[in-house]
């Protein structure tokens, strides 16, 4: 069997950042396996700008951003294989991949970084009632067709879900001459970034229907029309509120899910996000030497944080390969308390480098004037006032290590309303 120090699954931003970081820490026997024909991952189709404000202090487009990382990979001579699809991973760190060139290959790795990104929820996932015509596709698929092949999927478009990909596509298709009739969002607030609501919808007078969902898909063979309805507090459609739109395309922008099937199948414990449970170095709790970073762990809105996570994983993997990192039973488990959707990592590792440990989380719903409370074993250790906090932006807090006690019990993140004086 082929042997490698480090195998990286996925050549997107997280995978490339991990490879570069591990290389710079002295591990040079690295193999990146990438399923598609290109490095860069999802950024191949994200031609809009808004990437890299933290990383490079400039606003780049997706392709400009990933090209800088490809250069870093190539400058170091890090080996990568394209059109190489990983089909299996074991807890013992055997990676099986398939490529047209090599056929089916098994590689024994000393460490693995899982960086396989995420996939989109599709129509099956929400069960829209009505016909099953063509013309109903995910926003990311439509983005790939248009931005990689120059093919427009439709001329009269409606979008279900206010996720960022849908918003970006609303603008892109409008500029290409399509008519986007509206965006329906089930929740009473948008799931996209405010700047995208402004620059992708308001700029082009595209209406956003909050607390609305698609209640009917109409068309034999081809999509002809859709019907949307307002929903009540329990998300049930309210009869009599139906609106009909004649469209040839319905884009779905209803959420992204970590593409973690490989680790799931290997029997590695998953968290609330459906990514693996990891510690502060991004190492999975139930399989030492297997690391996870980027959208495969939890869905990110900023590539800068994906890159930072990739680096942590790459550095951790290098330390593990060199025998400097021993899996420990100790560490502080984390929990999502009141108002919090999820917390990453699942375990804080006081031995991890630095004076502070990163805690990343998303809130369950938008709130104003609240404290984010960090408590250990039920005792508050830090309170931070937030004037506004929203689910569409991931929060990162560097929790000083000296506030934590090794035997102080689990760390809970929760929201507490600010008391009015």
């Amino acid at each position: 069997m082929e042997k490698r120090d480090l195998v990286i699954i996925g050549g997107g931003s997280a995978g490339m950042a991990a490879a570069v970081a591990a290389y710079d820490k002295g591990v040079h026997d690295i193999l990146i396996l990438e399923r598609t024909e290109f490095l860069g991952g999802i950024l191949n189709q994200c031609i809009h700008n808004g990437f890299g404000l933290h990383e490079f202090k400039e606003e780049l487009t997706g392709p400009e951003f990933f090209t800088r990382f490809v250069k870093q990979v190539e400058e170091r001579g890090i080996e990568y294989k394209l059109s190489a699809n990983v089909v299996g991973v074991t807890k013992d760190k055997v990676v099986t991949y398939f490529s047209g060139e090599d056929g089916c290959v098994e590689v024994q790795a000393k460490a693995i970084v899982m960086a396989a990104g995420c996939y989109e929820r599709n129509a099956g996932a929400i069960g829209i009632p009505g016909d099953r015509p063509s013309g109903v596709i995910t926003a990311g698929q439509a983005q790939l067709y248009l931005n990689a092949y120059g093919y427009m999927v439709g001329k009269k478009v409606f979008i279900l879900g206010s996720g960022d990909i849908g918003l970006i596509m609303a603008r892109r298709m409008t500029l290409e001459g399509a008519k986007v009739l509206g965006v329906a969002e089930l929740m009473p607030y948008s799931n996209g970034l405010e700047r995208n609501i402004q620059q992708c919808l308001k700029d082009f007078d595209i209406p956003l229907y909050l607390s609305h969902t698609v209640t009917k898909v109409i068309g034999k063979g081809k999509l002809e029309a859709i019907e949307i309805s307002q929903v009540d507090e329990r998300m049930k459609p309210i009869p009599g509120t139906e609106k009909r739109f004649e469209v040839d395309t319905l884009l779905l922008s209803i959420g992204l899910i970590p593409n973690n099937d490989l680790l799931d199948k290997a029997g590695i414990e998953a968290s609330k996000t459906r990514g693996a449970k990891v510690d502060s170095r991004m190492m999975t709790l139930s399989a030492p030497g297997i690391f996870s970073a980027g959208n495969v762990l939890h869905v990110h809105d900023l590539v800068d944080y994906v890159v930072a996570e990739g680096r942590t994983a790459g550095e951790g993997a290098a330390a593990y390969i060199k025998g400097e990192l021993k899996p420990s039973e100790e560490g502080i488990l984390t929990e999502a308390g009141k108002g919090i959707g999820y917390v990453v990592p699942a375990k804080l590792d006081l031995d991890a480098p630095g004076d502070a440990l990163e805690v990343k989380f998303r809130v369950s719903r938008p709130s104003k004037n609240v404290y984010v409370v960090y408590s250990q074993g039920g005792v508050p250790i830090k309170k931070i006032l937030k004037l506004a906090i929203i689910p569409s932006e991931m929060e990162i807090y560097k929790l000083p290590k000296n506030l934590l006690k090794a035997d102080g019990g689990p760390l809970t993140v929760s929201l507490e309303p600010k008391e009015e004086k």
Binding site: T61, P63, N147, A148, L175, A388
Partner: protein, 116 residues
């Protein structure tokens, strides 16, 4: 005419009110005032799109952007010009594919390297 807008400079999303004399209220910090003034007096956007690329065995189109932001009102005029542009391999990031797009100072530049 007074305008209401949401500041997009940071996640707080303050609701700005900009009056006829470009006085901004509702902002919680100075950055909001700068944004509000610019947005009402001369809103500008960076246009990103794709153009056909000839001679590549892997890609049909090449992503492009305007090298500086252009007035919002010129976006559709600029798109008409973008759609007539063709690139030829090899393409490098920053290659100028069209000068002075839609009568502005901005150039259309390639944002991807396509060598073959």
């Amino acid at each position: 005419m007074a305008v209401e807008l949401t500041c997009i400079v940071c996640p707080r999303g303050c609701h700005l009110h900009v009056d006829d004399d470009l006085n901004v209220t509702g902002n919680s910090c100075p950055r909001g005032a700068v944004y509000g003034k610019q947005e009402v007096s001369n809103p500008v956007r960076t246009l990103t799109s794709t153009v056909v690329v000839e001679g590549s065995g892997h890609l049909w189109v090449c992503p492009v952007k305007t090298d500086v932001a252009i007035p919002k009102g010129k976006l559709f005029d600029a798109m008409k010009e973008v759609n007539a542009v063709k690139a030829k391999v090899p393409v490098h990031i920053g290659d100028v594919l069209l000068k002075g797009i839609a009568g502005t100072e901005a150039n259309l530049i390639a944002t991807r390297e396509i060598l073959d």
